[in-house]
């Protein structure tokens, strides 16, 4: 079956434990690098998962398929707001952490059994900014981008 996938990889100078909490339980930290958004879950296999925007709107929801802290997290992920994206059904987001020297390799793989996929197109634009912000926040204590779309001239 045709599928759409992206794989994003970065190396962050931190520990797997610190990175795991930044991606899961540390909600306040997450809001800093995710443009006000956070994810809400118990972070154990079978528990519900949802992504909540800064205005409290649930943009995406699903459940945790696998949780092996601080190494591997698999999320069943369905978009909720835009009907054409919701109609594509479930996608799967796999987050893998692997210590390499003094850094941690973070690999995010997002897949849907659809080709081409509007969902993959939508999330693929957002992830690099989020990952880049996460990296600088963990390494330097500051984020680079304050807005997801700083080119908006009307502000």
């Amino acid at each position: 079956m045709a599928r759409s996938t992206f794989v994003y990889v970065t190396y962050i100078r931190t520990t797997p434990e610190r990175l795991w909490s930044a991606l899961t339980t540390d909600v306040e930290f997450m809001k800093q690098y995710w443009f006000g958004t956070h994810c809400d879950s118990q972070w154990t296999a079978g528990s519900p998962w949802k992504m909540v925007s800064s205005t409290g709107q649930i943009s995406d929801a699903g459940e945790i398929i696998e949780a092996d802290p601080p190494r591997r997290l698999v999320i069943r992920w369905q978009h909720q707001n835009r009907p054409e994206l919701t109609a594509e059904g479930d996608s799967r987001c796999t987050i893998e952490l692997e210590p390499i020297g003094t850094a941690v390799k973070l690999a995010i793989t997002h897949t849907i059994e659809h080709e081409p996929s509007k969902l993959i197109e939508a999330v693929s634009g957002g992830w690099p900014k989020i990952i880049s912000n996460l990296k600088s926040l963990l390494e330097t204590g500051a984020i680079v981008l304050r807005d997801a779309y700083p080119a908006a001239v009307s502000r």
């Binding site: 996938t5 992206f6 990889v9 690099p128 990952i131 700083p150 001239v153």
Partner: protein
Amino acid sequence: MADRYDTDVLFKALADRSRRRLLDLLHAHDGRTLTELCEHLDMTRQGVTQHIDLLEAANLVATVRRGREKLHFLNPVPLQEIYERWIAKFEKPRLKALSELKKRLETANG
């Protein structure tokens, strides 16, 4: 800090027409095997492998094993970092100027 070194590797990886072509091929269609990539380049398989190795070292290409196949994916994260480091900061004054122009024109019309 490995930052300076990483940046050198990154720019070196981008400073080659065939490697940029490989990135364009992956951008058009991600998740290709080496054989599929070779079909689009007038180069030996060994040559393509060397270019892919450099792109992987610069973290511009990520690979995933699926069974016996190795699939190649464009990894845009280092490009995002270049954008933030070298482009975004030069754009800001111009965007601010545009924004102020828009505000002034709209106020004048109202």
